[in-house]
């Protein structure tokens, strides 16, 4: 018996299993095609002969392939610079956001913290009110964060949603691991870096993707 990571066990497949697998895989294949087909369609339209595209003749396969539309991109002003700013702010912003969320998520699991539920509520509630666009802009102006690289990064550092996700995940890790480390004399920070961080990798990877997309 070969054990798989998802807990399924490979054994002689019954007819029911085979039907299940066929239906399951077909449904997922269809959904995946629905998800990517529009992008394929846009793509073949950008590389097909521009005249045919204009006449609306391209449906399923590209005709008269050329890449001049993409070559023309390099002539767009500041394209390279814009890409650089986007990439660097995504990397820096995401890394900092993940670390903050992980640490904050861990701290909020600590029942011992002074007035924990009050602070946690103050944090969660921020997801549900909104000052509006103009007050937000004036606030950024008051902080000197408009037209500024940090203006992209700092506001996104504390993300209540991601903190909740990390907190829920860490709470599912057996508390005994943390307790044994504490008995061995590990400090809060040591428990966090050496026990919680490695165990929370799946959820951190998830919020890293969330963060990278948001950036």
């Amino acid at each position: 018996m070969a054990r798989k990571s998802n807990g399924a066990v490979r054994y002689q497949q019954s007819a029911g299993d085979i039907t299940f697998n066929i239906i399951n895989i077909t449904v997922f294949t269809i959904f995946t095609i629905i998800c990517i087909f529009p992008f394929y369609y846009l793509f073949i339209n950008t590389i097909s002969n521009n005249d045919l595209v204009g006449k609306n003749m391209i449906t399923l396969i590209p005709v008269g392939i050329h890449f001049s539309n993409y070559v023309a991109l390099k002539d767009v002003n500041d394209f390279g610079n814009a890409v650089m700013v986007t990439v660097s702010r995504t990397i820096l912003g995401t890394t900092l956001m993940v670390l903050t969320s992980a640490f904050a998520g861990y701290l909020t699991t600590k029942q011992k913290m002074w007035h924990r539920s009050l602070w946690y509520r103050a944090l969660v509630v921020t997801m549900y009110f909104n000052a509006g666009m103009i007050p937000w802009y004036l606030n950024m102006l008051g902080l000197g964060l408009t037209d500024n690289y940090w203006g992209y990064i700092l506001p996104g550092l504390v993300s209540p949603y991601n903190i909740i996700l990390v907190k829920t995940y860490i709470e599912s890790i057996p508390a005994s691991l943390e307790e044994s480390a504490t008995i061995d004399g590990a400090s809060t920070i040591q428990v966090f870096t050496q026990i919680i961080l490695p165990l929370a990798k799946p959820i951190l990877a998830t919020i890293a993707v969330f963060g990278a997309v948001a950036n």
Partner: protein, 485 residues
């Protein structure tokens, strides 16, 4: 001293500590309010500059003074001095904050900590002195275009500095006189340590989420873009009453609320779909296929709604894929613009939302499934559980905590379904049934320039959302014995 008396004494001390900490906290907050900027020594300095900005950005400080500096009406050195003094003032407040943090420690740590607010308040006095020096220079320059004004924030900070110094000295005196034993090391109870570690997160939350709420005051003024808030255009609750008394506005609000609740309701009713997606996907044995599906179904989520609309155009518009498919391959002449139809718009919006989001939302469940202890599945197998029984009795219960947290959050978010999607898909045909509350607020504020009215509606929305959040939480506590927040 009996233990009771000692307890009473400790309570009195702790009151003094609380006052001390609150004063320091106020000083920290005041750094970020432009209204309290002690360095606005002339009305030529922008009213949006806070002490914090003045300290970190010389450019913002002199943004409206380029001509005055060029013509020599005022000296550059005046403003450099202003900026450096602001920095000294900020450093003083930071030191006071350090002192306030050590006040959570044991007696030895507190005794050690008293020096920081002391030094801090001296630095604050120095910074304020420097700012006053700049003010005197502006007065001496006596230029009509750079009129000197004595900033009210100056008094605020002076009072705060005095209070910090006074409370610190009083506390130092009482601690010195007390004969309580002195510990060997500087230590702090764990509950306070954890709180102080969490404090930076709270500070960022305050700055970026609570501070902008100051802008809610626009709802009480008759404000036009670019204007200022003065006592003259203060209108009190006018906008709130207009909201409910004006017949057309009320009809609008009801229509918009109906759309909002319908779309959010559909979203909540289908919130189990990503969970089912994740559970069934992890049943596929081929890892390659799982990867393939997961990667490609998340693609739509990486794109903004504007691009999704471009995709929708490419597929459903007059010269989109569907029409070209019908004409070129099925040989049926077809020329319909599916996007212009105004029917079933709620359903269509739901489908677009799902197309964009299902693969994405499933990620969180898939990562939870990877974290499930394989021992649980082994135990279930030994008990003779089949595939569906394992899914139903092991996987799904393990995902329930995450599901409920997300469900609760979406219930509280019932009034805010974002506006981007509805903005890009709206057209004259479907405008009535697609306008959700967020879009309505946007159209009102940006489209019609009614900023106070849109702020008032935004306030209402926020209050209702917070009430819903706590209500849903109370229900969850009752039903599941578990509180989410």
């Amino acid at each position: 001293m009996s233990s009771k008396e000692r307890k009473k004494k400790a309570d009195q001390d702790s009151w003094m500590y609380r006052i001390h900490r609150i004063v320091v906290l106020l000083a920290c907050a005041a750094i970020f309010f432009p209204g309290f900027n002690p360095g606005r020594i002339t009305s030529a300095i922008s009213r949006n500059v806070s002490l914090f900005t003045a300290g970190i950005s010389y450019q913002s400080l002199v943004s409206q003074l380029a001509r005055a500096l060029l013509r020599g009406w005022v000296q550059k050195s005046t403003f450099l001095q202003l900026m450096i003094s602001s920095d000294i003032l900020i450093i003083g407040i930071i030191l006071a904050a350090v002192g306030a943090c050590t006040s959570f420690g044991n007696r030895r740590m507190r005794m050690w900590g008293f020096r920081w607010p002391l030094i801090g308040s001296i630095l604050m006095a120095g910074g304020l002195g420097g700012i006053y020096g700049s003010y005197v220079q502006i007065v001496a320059a006596a230029n009509k275009r750079v009129p000197a004004t004595f900033p009210s924030g100056f008094i605020v900070f002076a009072v705060l500095a005095v209070l910090i110094l006074a409370t610190d000295v009083i506390l130092m005196g009482t601690e010195r006189r007390s004969r309580a034993p002195l510990e060997d090391r500087r230590e702090m109870e764990e509950k306070y340590q954890l709180f102080l570690l969490f404090l930076p997160v709270l500070a960022l939350t305050f700055i970026f989420s609570y501070l902008p709420l100051w802008g809610w005051r626009y709802a009480f003024y008759d404000y036009k873009a670019g204007g200022t808030l003065t006592a003259a255009n203060f209108v009190g609750l006018k906008w709130f009453t207009v909201l409910f008394q004006n017949e057309t506005t009320r009809a609008d609000i009801f229509r918009v609320l109906k759309n909002t609740l319908a779309m959010s309701g559909l979203g909540i009713l289908t919130s189990w779909v990503p969970l089912a997606f994740a559970v069934f996907l992890t049943q596929v044995e081929s890892k390659k296929f799982r990867r393939f599906v997961q990667n490609f179904t998340t693609i739509p989520n990486f794109l903004g709604w504007v691009i999704i609309y471009a995709v929708a155009l490419a597929i459903f518009s007059t010269d989109g894929f569907i029409n070209s498919f019908m004409t070129n391959i099925m040989h049926v002449a077809s020329n319909t613009n599916y996007l212009m139809s105004g029917t079933h718009i709620w359903m269509k919006m739901l489908l677009w939302g799902m197309w964009k989001g299902v693969g994405w939302s499933a990620i969180i469940y898939i990562s939870s499934i990877t974290g499930i202890d394989p021992g649980l599945y082994e135990a279930a197998e030994i008990d003779g559980a089949g595939r569906f029984q394992k899914m139903w009795n092991v996987t799904i219960p393990q995902l329930m905590p995450t599901f409920f947290v997300l469900l609760l959050m979406s219930i509280a978010n019932v009034l805010s379904n974002g506006m981007e999607q509805y903005l890009v898909f709206s057209n004259p045909v479907n405008a009535k049934s697609i306008e959700v509350l967020d879009l309505y607020v946007y159209n009102l504020g940006i489209g019609n320039g009614q900023i106070p009215m849109s702020t008032a509606i935004g306030m209402f929305k926020s209050v209702i959302s917070v009430i819903l959040l706590f209500g849903a939480n109370a229900i969850s506590k009752k039903l599941r014995g578990e509180s989410i927040i």
